[in-house]
């Protein structure tokens, strides 16, 4: 009765990517040191976390705000910064209408404020920089992917890396100034003059999959659930193996 189960549909169950053991389980105090506006609805928050154990690009953390009466609100946020930003991490938050935590960040937060963080969490979506990566994100789903791009640059890695990022318009494209040749933006509502506008399609993926690196891509898909479903189905239809697609859904 010990024969291994072979799933009819494949799904890689990759082993845990080793992440520095240690402080991930404990709450730590993070001090806000800077705020940078990215788009009218998104801003990046730089935090000093002296005891940060480091992370792999793609990981997220748990963040907690506490009210004077003891009430707490906890949310997950992806790490936007590359791992070796000594003692600092960056998060990028979308402003959610009526949002309890993102609302505080966008309307109250200022340098010197302290919040609690715990992490990094989850090794599944992490990218250690060892495999050719095709990154596909939409909206704030680009945040963990940007950590990968920044890591790739900071380390001068030569492993192939491509980013396909979807945003409603150029003004809503998070990190617009930072993208280079690795990035193809897709605009769904309005684009630069002359550029096509519309949802991500098979035609956006085809050139990337056709000229894939010799061993193929490891695909990382991140965004809302609707986007993750759409993009992962496009990938499967285009021939990307199911067991080489990792998905992070923001809910």
């Amino acid at each position: 009765m010990t024969e291994a189960f072979t799933p009819p549909t494949r799904f890689a169950v990759p082993g845990r990517i080793a992440v520095g053991a240690g402080t991930g389980n404990q709450w730590q105090t993070a001090t806000l040191t800077g705020i940078r506006r990215e788009t009218p609805r998104a801003a990046s928050f730089r935090l000093a976390v002296p005891g940060w154990a480091g992370h792999l690009p793609g990981q997220h953390l748990m963040l907690q705000l506490s009210a004077p009466d003891g009430y707490t609100a906890q949310r997950h946020y992806s790490l936007a910064s590359a791992p070796d930003d000594s003692g600092h991490i960056e998060l990028t938050l979308d402003r959610v209408d009526g949002g309890e935590v993102s609302g505080w960040f966008h309307s109250e937060a200022r340098p010197g404020d302290r919040v609690d963080v715990r992490g990094p969490v989850s090794g599944f979506f992490a990218w250690p920089g060892d495999r050719a990566a095709l990154l596909i994100g939409a909206g704030s789903g680009v945040v963990p992917l940007m950590s990968m791009v920044r890591h790739h640059r900071a380390r001068g890695l030569s492993v192939p890396l491509r980013l396909l990022v979807s945003a409603r318009s150029p003004a809503e494209l998070i990190y617009a100034r930072e993208y280079g040749a690795e990035t193809t933006p897709v605009f769904t509502r309005s684009g630069p003059p002359g550029a096509p506008v519309g949802r991500m399609t098979a035609a956006h993926l085809a050139p990337l999959l056709d000229d894939g690196p010799p061993g193929g891509w490891e695909a990382y898909v991140c965004g809302s659930n609707a986007f993750a479903e759409h993009a992962s189905r496009l990938l499967v239809a285009a021939g990307q193996p199911v067991d080489r697609i990792r998905i992070e859904r923001f809910g």
Binding site: M1, F5, T9, F11, N25, L65, T72, S122, E229
Partner: protein, 201 residues
């Protein structure tokens, strides 16, 4: 814990049904799975129980539906922070399956595995005595694929990553064997009331 300057939280009424650190997702039902949603039709769905049982067995859609139907109404809690109240699932209680396979006395733990290859571990005790189901209907309709349809495991008293979507089988063991998220740092049991989120909690 730091009191966060300028943060008072949302106006709230105390809700004794809400475990610590959770919020009410109301009509939302977020989807959190690491894999591509499989196209699995009821005709292709099978469910097997093996390992430390007297009689290992496999059911298909029709034979599983011959078992006594059971409805579960209650609350669900996801480790990412949302809870959902008064949800209604229909399927079969796992007790009906246990009666037929008869777990051996040496069985203490279970690995639940999905048609996608996803796995999660549970103490056997958490799957007995009317606390766990194989569910194929949500709110009177077939369970949507992105929520685990055609059929998922349902263990509402534990965090919802234990309720494996696209359930393919349960293997009974005499020891605990971490599953997919448990190998990625999550808790072995996942009791929301004790906030067992990550290993070490």
């Amino acid at each position: 814990m730091n009191v966060t300057r300028g943060f008072s939280g949302r106006p709230r009424v105390h809700n004794p049904g809400l475990p610590p650190g959770q919020y009410d997702a109301r009509d939302d039902w977020p989807v959190l799975s690491a894999e591509v949603t499989p196209d699995l039709s009821p005709a292709d769905w099978t469910f097997r129980i093996d390992g430390l049982v007297e009689e290992p067995r496999t059911w298909d859609w029709a034979t599983a539906h011959e078992l006594p139907a059971s409805v579960h109404e209650g609350d669900i809690h996801c480790v990412t922070g949302w809870s959902k109240f008064g949800v209604r699932f229909a399927g079969v209680s796992l007790d009906a399956f246990w009666e037929r396979v008869r777990p051996l006395p040496s069985a203490t733990h279970v690995v639940a595995y999905a048609h996608t290859g996803y796995t999660t571990n549970l103490p056997l005790a958490d799957l007995r005595d009317g606390r766990a189901w194989i569910a194929w209907e949500y709110d009177g309709r077939p369970l949507p694929a992105e929520h685990g349809g055609p059929a998922r495991l349902l263990v509402p008293h534990l965090y919802f990553w234990k309720s494996a979507k696209w359930i393919a089988g349960l293997r009974l063991l005499d020891h605990d064997e971490p599953g997919f998220w448990e190998r990625n740092g999550y808790h072995a049991r996942g009791n929301p009331w004790a906030e067992q989120r990550y290993s070490g909690d």
